[in-house]
């Protein structure tokens, strides 16, 4: 058993977890034949594992550790079903890559991008602005958002309560689109929320954000908005109420509403999820908006509430599972434009500047530091409360206690001291259970 473990550990070094996403930025265009699907992204997708380069190896271990080999044939089933749908989707992907609203190949390289130094001046001083990120790198976008939040109004010392007036008329609005990734809330446990293996096998990055809330999947068809205001003016519903209003003005036939959790729904299906951060003198509300996301591809990425044979004892925040759909707009750009128009009207200020930034032009040491933190294994995985997980295998029950990402107690002693991340990767091969 030891040698098998060490073999597997050798090829599952956690470097994968901290890999930097490729710079080759995927581009997007509206889907010509949009697949409007309404699914639950946490459905377990039996096909999600099929691209696994280690499948053969994994199933070898599965057969070594299982009493019957009857399940293994499923693993080797080739992806032929749904091939027509896949072909159409591939075609869509190619079309997507031809041009994007904020596409570096379609003219937006001519858009002036703000430099790191100018960003600093802009953010630290008072005054409203709208920032559109041309980067699809989720690490950059989350770091940029955090930078704007942490440094907003610094020059006019909004952090001192006496000067709270200096934050008046200084709301900030930001938009960014992330390449494929799963983003969990600040106080969640990644393994409890995500099928890590499926995510990595399918090219998704995994990030922990700085705001609260649950796990979401991003792709290039999803646009993120982020509204920053003073702590005093913070109101949870403010921005989503306005989005609903602006969208209804655009298309009165849309059946869009806010649900009891303040999320935006279309015909009862969630199209947007929100999270918030509140700190000294400042707050932000950010949210996702599904426009032409490949929701069909989200299957098998988020874990359902309960998995057979696995029981979590954990105080971290649970995601609220919801059925999702796309908002029927032509592009993410259309959504951004609707918001910008509505926003300027709301603040009765048509001169709010719209600025662009990207990773190569808009960088400074603080953004880079936050990117490094977001990419670190420690922030992604080991932040969060200790937990206990109970796994029922065919012939035994295994209980593990995990603190800061390391297994500190185990009913099978061999696992003591092992990073839970590695245990999780091995679990399917060793225990036939995704943990």
């Amino acid at each position: 058993m030891c040698s098998i473990l060490s073999q597997i550990i050798r090829r599952t070094v956690s470097s994968q977890l901290i890999s930097i996403p490729p710079r080759n930025i995927k581009l997007r265009w509206l889907h010509s034949s949009k697949v409007l699907c309404k699914i639950t992204p946490f459905d377990i997708d039996a096909t999600a594992d099929l691209n696994d380069e280690f499948n053969e190896l994994n199933s070898m271990y599965t057969s070594m550790f299982s009493k019957s080999n009857s399940n293994n044939k499923d693993v080797h089933k080739v992806k032929t079903e749904n091939s027509l749908v896949d072909d159409i989707n591939e075609l869509n992907d190619e079309l997507n890559e031809l041009c994007s609203p904020y596409d570096t190949r379609c003219g937006s390289q001519n858009v002036p991008k703000i430099s790191g130094d100018d960003l600093k001046t802009l953010v630290e001083n008072s005054g409203r602005f709208i920032m559109i990120s041309l980067s699809n790198n989720p690490y950059f976008n989350l770091a940029l958002e955090d930078y704007i939040y942490n440094n907003s109004g610094k020059a006019s010392s909004i952090t001192k309560s006496d000067n709270r007036n200096s934050f008046v008329n200084s709301e900030r609005l930001m938009f960014y689109i992330n390449d494929k990734c799963a983003v969990i809330g600040k106080n969640q446990t990644i393994w409890k929320e995500l099928f890590m293996k499926n995510l990595y096998d399918n090219g998704y990055q995994v990030l922990r954000r700085f705001s609260g809330g649950g796990a979401v999947i991003h792709d290039l068809g999803n646009v993120n908005y982020s509204f920053l205001t003073s702590r005093e003016d913070f109101r949870r519903e403010f921005f989503n109420e306005n989005i609903v209003k602006w969208l209804r003005e655009q298309n009165p036939k849309l059946n869009i509403n806010l649900n009891e959790r303040g999320d935006i729904t279309l015909d009862g299906y969630k199209v947007s999820g929100s999270a918030f951060k509140i700190g000294r003198g400042k707050s932000y509300h950010h949210g996702t908006m599904l426009i032409n996301s490949r929701i069909d591809k989200f299957k098998g990425l988020l874990k359902p509430d309960e998995l057979p044979n696995v029981k979590w004892n954990c105080n971290s925040i649970n995601s609220v599972r919801s059925e999702i759909t796309n908002l029927p707009l032509t592009s993410t750009k259309q959504f951004i434009d609707i918001c910008i128009d509505g926003y300027k009207t709301h603040f009765q200020d048509s001169n709010i500047p719209v600025l662009y930034c990207d990773e190569s032009d808009t960088m400074n040491i603080e953004i880079r530091k936050v990117m490094n933190k977001l990419m670190s294994y420690e922030w992604k995985a080991t932040t969060g409360p200790p937990f206990e997980v109970q796994i029922n295998t065919i012939d035994t029950q295994l209980t593990l206690t995990v603190e800061k990402g390391i297994i500190i107690k185990s009913t099978i002693p061999i696992f003591i001291g092992m990073p839970f991340q590695e245990f999780s990767r091995l679990s399917k091969a060793l225990l036939q259970t995704d943990v």
Binding site: K160, S161, G185, K186, N187, F210, S211, G212, G213, G214, R231, E232, R236, R261, S274, A275, F276, K277, I278, G279, R280, G281, N315, S316, I317, P385
Partner: protein, 168 residues
């Protein structure tokens, strides 16, 4: 004229309402108060809605006010600070999650953290139920008692007055 009079009336009634409620006062039956027999020597508030109850021996308890707890809604998770660390005034000591919001809690004055309220790990709702008592967050050893005289720290009356001004 009439509207001015009405506003003044509303303000006065709000003040009266707050004084009657005075829900931001420390709970007298819980540890932050009962740590010494005579109770804390000084209780102060911050504009970020934290309270600090300081005792004679330099020990102080920190938590958030009833106003803040109500504004947060149902608390679902408290990120507890680690004991043994020196924390400067204004540093983040904890973060509270409620209804998808992560809210930062700041150290009102410099000191070293001696204990976090471990009960919050399994019962984060104590912050809603008794924010000025059983829902205390951190116990600290104050670095310099003079720091308590910082004019940015408010008395209960000043704090509630600032709330009334924010809400008028």
């Amino acid at each position: 004229m009439f509207s001015v009079a009405r506003t003044a009336f509303q303000k006065n009634s709000l003040k009266l309402f707050l004084r009657c409620q005075s829900t931001n006062a420390l709970t007298k039956t819980q540890l932050p108060f009962t740590y010494t027999a005579s109770g804390p020597s000084l209780i102060k508030y911050t504009t970020e809605h934290e309270w600090i109850a300081a005792h004679e021996d330099g020990t102080a308890f920190i938590g958030i006010t009833k106003y803040a707890a109500d504004a947060l809604g149902d608390v679902t998770y408290v990120e507890l600070p680690e004991a043994g660390s020196d924390i400067a005034e204004g540093d983040t000591i904890s973060s509270i999650e409620s209804v998808k919001s992560a809210s930062e809690i700041y150290q009102p004055i410099a000191g070293s953290l001696t204990e976090a309220n471990q009960n919050l790990e399994n019962s984060p709702q104590l912050i809603n139920e008794d924010p000025l008592g059983a829902g205390w967050i951190a116990k600290i050893k104050i670095k310099d008692a003079k720091d308590l005289e910082n004019p940015e720290l408010l008395s209960l009356e000043q704090y509630e007055k600032s709330l009334a001004e924010d809400n008028h």
